[in-house]
């Protein structure tokens, strides 16, 4: 009977496993509203919003984990929470994308400067090598 009264839950994020084990019930902040998943729940797939995922252990204790969003998959015998490690929202993502683009543009803008710098460095290295050579020749002769 123990199997029927618990369900296996995996909470994983891209950076590692957060929780794994049998629980009596899971609560998750689905995008359409808070969900409670008990054993024998129908198969379900939904997205999560930022909030708290709570698991009730078979002994009645509760543990909670913060998720920044993600997805929830309910299969007949196991529940998988694919949690985001970062807070996700359309405008936050948009801002991050914009920043990445700007960095690329800036890097390309001083492309000419970089080439000049690389050329100057190469010239410096050549000059230094020549100086060393001259010094060595002097030592041999002197």
């Amino acid at each position: 009977m123990a199997e029927a009264s618990t369900i296996h839950v995996d909470i994983v994020s891209a950076e590692g496993e957060i929780f794994s084990g049998p629980v009596a019930m899971v609560f998750a902040p689905a995008i359409m509203g808070e969900l409670g998943i008990a054993p024998r729940h129908a198969p379900l797939l939904t997205l999560l919003k930022a909030g708290e995922v709570r698991v009730r252990m078979p002994d009645g204790q509760e543990q909670s984990f913060f998720v920044g969003g993600g997805a929830l998959e309910v299969q007949p015998k196991r529940v998988t929470v694919l949690a985001d490690t970062a807070l996700r929202a359309r405008d936050i993502d948009e801002a991050a994308a914009l920043a990445a683009k700007q960095r690329a543009e800036e890097a390309l803008r001083d492309r000419a400067g970089a080439i000049e710098q690389a050329e100057a460095l190469a010239e410096l290295a050549r000059a230094a090598a020549q100086l060393k050579m001259i010094e060595r020749l002097r030592k041999i002769r002197g």
Partner: protein
């Protein structure tokens, strides 16, 4: 005693260099182990994601997400290149860049334009010299990359794919074979290759909230981000392994150099003593 002082200072300087390379070797070894652990931790997420996408795809054959559709005519190709931020890692970056250049030439040969997305300072320094456009870049992720720092960069490429600026997206990063071997690896990110029906053992009729299209979109985006994250973590493991090996050989070479210098020093010292002795003996005989 001509030259003995110079040899002595040379030996001390090589010794202090050896100390530095030895320390770097040990630091790289411990960081490599931690990076490998993180690589392992990232795996279950990507696998579970892939299975969920496979289920969704199978359950909704009529809905084709743009990320899953193969485009007949590939005119533009996007490449995400993951490189290191710091040097002293042997030929790791150079081998990777060579692979990227091959890939670029291959697609340019087919008449396609290539756009890049660069992760890591070394990659940026190399590829900005080319005329190839760079759509996005991020550097200094550190030894522990986080998904949050990659979201923006990946989104630029996903948006470019969505609006047709690129028709295919690749990820190039160093693959961790073992401590001694790291090889560049090319992975196709978009369109996503889904699991075959035969690979999915069981199948259920899911309830979708809100609907399959939105969920699939969210899952695919996260799946690709997790792939790039995995690439970044694997690249850190490779960087540390390559640096460890490079620093080990540098320490060994320094050891050899010290031995040689010591021999030269001893010889010079002995020669000076012999000379002095013979002078004394010669002087005594003359008296």
């Amino acid at each position: 005693m001509p030259g003995t002082k110079e040899i002595r200072t040379k030996i001390t300087s090589v010794k202090s260099t050896q100390k530095i390379t030895k320390a770097m070797e040990m630091v790289a070894a411990s960081k490599m182990r931690r990076a490998q652990d993180r690589m392992r931790l990232a795996r279950p997420y990507a696998e579970k994601m892939r299975v969920a996408i496979g289920h969704l795809n199978k359950a909704n054959p009529d809905y084709r997400h743009p990320f899953l559709v193969e485009r007949a005519d590939v005119k533009n190709v996007g490449v995400i290149v993951i490189s290191t931020d710091r040097g002293l890692a042997g030929s790791l970056n150079i081998n990777l860049f060579k692979q990227v250049l091959y890939l670029m030439r291959e697609w340019q040969g087919k008449g396609a334009q290539v756009s890049l997305c660069i992760i890591g300072a070394k990659g940026l320094a190399f590829f900005r010299r080319l005329a190839t456009p760079i759509l996005a870049n991020v550097t200094h992720l550190g030894d522990r990359p986080h998904v949050k720092d990659l979201i923006g960069t990946v989104k630029v490429m996903l948006d470019a794919y969505r609006d047709g600026t690129i028709d295919r997206l690749f990820l190039v990063n160093a693959q961790f074979v073992n401590t001694m071997t790291q090889k560049p690896n090319v992975l196709q990110l978009l369109p996503v290759e889904t699991l075959d029906a035969s690979e999915l053992q069981e199948h259920w009729d899911y309830i979708y909230e809100p609907d399959a299209a939105d969920i699939l979109d969210g899952l695919l985006m996260r799946y690709i981000e997790s792939q790039v994250y995995r690439g970044a973590v694997e690249n850190v493991a490779c960087e540390m392994a390559a640096r460890m090996v490079a620093m080990k050989s540098a320490s060994d070479n320094a050891g050899k150099l010290i031995n040689e210098l010591q021999l030269v020093y001893n010889k010079a010292r002995q020669a000076a003593i012999t000379k002095e002795l013979s002078e004394i003996v010669g002087g005594a005989a003359a008296v």
